[in-house]
Symmetry: D2
Subunit: 125 residues, 4 copies
């Protein structure tokens, strides 16, 4: 199964391709360090500089958050949750880590398949 | 089907019952007013003054966010996401409203069933 | 929150109303008796005599199966899974009962909200 | 992210490894041919010759069905749906194809990560 990955868009010439890659890519935003046993916020956002449609036949229907091979959570949406206009889908998960993590997110676009974020290492002490 | 509801725990005498009701109840936290077409943050939290276990056989497995009869999103967890210790499950949804909303959340406990929050009216202009 | 229920459509005069109620209602189909510890098939079907659209802005996005207050499973779909034509959404769950059950299903239509099936009693011995 | 795959267990010597691989692997069972516009049954089963536990800290929490890069559906379970005893998780999806498909399933074990089935080609005419 093909899982798409982010590419550094500053190295891509064609505007349409920059847009396509950026708006589908999942990004994990969180602190680099966490305290074991304390609640820790992790934002998953889809797209960075470019927005994704929220059309009935073309929207982000779910994001998942993973720590390596361990599933942490999933958020599901329907078309219209984002007002049927282009935007960056976001969700904040709150997790409680007990050891170092390698966080990674998946985002699924109903037209352009599954996209995987870069992995973010979090030190937990 | 029985859907449990929050009761004002200040009016409940028995400590165990206060705890039981509070830690299972879903709460919607957001501003009272939103701008049409702009991203709007809605926190769903389970429990307020009391914490809920995150045991393998007893945890909050999902929360849903509704606007009246309209489903906006769902977040799923597995036991362990909250470090296997008592806490208040939280998730922040970001939605884009287009008209007035009546937000409501569901939370499901794998031992004690489905719990529905109070409804929060949001004026959208 | 309003949860819609099946009504006996033979007692409804207006054809449009029969159609509306029937095509949204969830039905649980299974044997009346099950053996404890053995796999047991439970079909959830949406609609009986009338079909529901599978349009991008109007489709059945999820069904849930419950035993009383206990969540057993959920199936999620996206528009197009049913070929974008009217049909009866179906899913077969396989569960392993250990005691008597009261099975009930929910179905969610992206335009017309949440619908709850009648409850089906299953004797488990 | 590591996604595990089925290996032909007849070529594996060690019994524990045969068991580990077989009981986690997802299998897609369906006809080789389908009629466009007609409902088509697709069974997803986890494990073939070996059973998987349904323990609170070790169970199959979800399966997904894909047609190439297109998500068709997902079924979620909680521990206990399979009676807390070893078994093969099963779910029957009903889809309506419009063109040739390459069906594939994912299964997630809460202890041993994500497993991907072989791809099944279905001719649709």
């Amino acid at each position: 199964m093909k899982i798409n990955r982010y590419q550094d868009i500053s190295e891509i010439d064609r505007e349409a391709k920059k847009d396509y890659i950026d708006r589908h890519s999942a990004f994990v935003h969180c602190e680099d360090n966490a305290k074991a046993g304390e609640k820790f916020k992790v934002k998953v956002q889809v797209g960075d500089e470019y927005k994704h449609p929220d059309d009935f036949d073309h929207y982000i229907s779910y994001v998942q958050l993973w720590d390596g091979e361990r599933f942490l959570g999933e958020a599901n949406f329907t078309a219209g949750t984002m007002g049927n206009a282009p935007t960056n889908v976001e969700v904040d998960f709150y997790i409680v880590p007990t050891k170092n993590m390698k966080l990674m997110a998946h985002a699924y676009c109903t037209k352009h398949g599954l996209w995987q974020s870069d992995e973010i290492a979090v030190s937990v002490s």
